[in-house]
């Protein structure tokens, strides 16, 4: 029962933070709601015994990405009214989101999943590291190249001046 209580709190925080992110009328509040969701998802990772991913989630998402988003909000200050944060197509978006959630929940809840119990113990860091650097070495290096290219691209795009 304690497990269900923890899961309920984390799932509730995840969904509530997400709802706050997409409905908040203040952009900075939206970023802080996003932080709530990201931390709660890190808690869900912990419940799934993925400690390393929970750490990465808090450090990278909770730290770096939210910080960068807040900086972008600061640099692109909007002087409009608060009511202009939503599109005119908002009713259609509600319909599309409800249709998606209905479809996904229907499929998830009606499927007979082959396994109902989580297997294995906590994932050890040594086994994880060995798998990442042996079996997944080439994708791992490619990911670093992707990050490097994105970094250089971001610097080039946002550089002041350029061709006019």
């Amino acid at each position: 029962m304690a497990v269900w209580l923890g899961f309920g709190v984390l799932a509730g925080a995840t969904v509530a933070g997400a709802l706050g992110t997409v409905t908040s009328r203040n952009v900075v509040h939206a970023a802080l709601f996003l932080l709530v969701t990201l931390i709660a998802v890190a808690g869900l990772f912990l419940m799934l015994f993925a400690e390393f991913l929970a750490l990465v989630q808090v450090l990278l998402y909770g730290g770096a990405i939210v910080l960068v988003l807040l900086f972008a909000l600061m640099l692109t200050r909007i002087r409009g009214t608060a009511a202009s944060l939503d599109n005119p197509q908002r009713p259609l978006a509600i319909v599309a989101a409800l249709a998606t959630v209905g479809l996904l929940l229907g499929v998830v809840l009606s499927t007979q999943w082959p396994v109902q119990q989580p297997g294995g113990g906590p994932v050890g860091f040594p086994q994880w590291g060995a798998s990442l650097f042996r079996q997944w070495a080439i994708p791992f290096e490619l990911a670093s190249v992707v990050l490097l290219v994105a970094l250089i691209g971001a610097v080039v795009i946002s550089r002041p001046g350029g061709e006019e």
């Binding site: 269900w4 899961f7 969904v15 997400a18 992110t21 997409v22 952009v27 939206a30 990201l38 869900l44 990772f45 419940m47 799934l48 015994f49 993925a50 991913l53 989630q57 990278l60 998402y61 770096a64 990405i65 960068v68 988003l69 972008a72 909000l73 640099l75 692109t76 944060l85 599109n87 978006a93 509600i94 599309a96 409800l98 998606t100 959630v101 996904l104 929940l105 809840l109 499927t111 999943w113 396994v115 989580p118 297997g119 294995g120 994932v123 086994q127 994880w128 990442l132 997944w136 994708p139 990911a143 992707v146 990050l147 994105a150 970094l151 691209g153 971001a154 610097v155 795009i157 946002s158």
Partner: protein
């Protein structure tokens, strides 16, 4: 114990909320935040399946790490583009950014 479908249900809710945000929001930075919500939903799915269906392997966890990496790269690039747009057009409102629309 918690069945795998509970995690999948949370993930489905999170994904749909993110999709609503992408479709309904007008500010480009808020759209980016909604995309982050959708990517997180995908990560929950990957980790849950890795835990329940293949506990001895790391495939789902490794994929989640790659998703986080790509998300970081995407945020960096997208924010550079948004700041560039803001400098050129003085807006981040996606309704007004219609240079490629005919």
């Amino acid at each position: 114990m918690i069945p795998v479908s509970a995690y999948l249900a949370v993930s489905a809710l999170l994904f749909s909320i993110g999709m609503y945000g992408v479709l309904a929001r007008r500010n480009a930075v808020l759209i980016l935040m909604s995309i982050e919500l959708m990517l997180n939903a995908v990560n929950i799915n990957l980790v849950a399946f890795s835990r329940y269906l293949a506990p001895g392997e790391f495939t789902g966890l490794v994929f989640a790490v790659f998703v986080i990496t790509v998300a970081a790269a995407e945020v960096g690039l997208a924010l550079a583009i948004i700041i560039r747009l803001y400098r050129n057009r003085a807006t981040v409102n996606v309704d007004e950014i219609d240079l490629l629309k005919w």
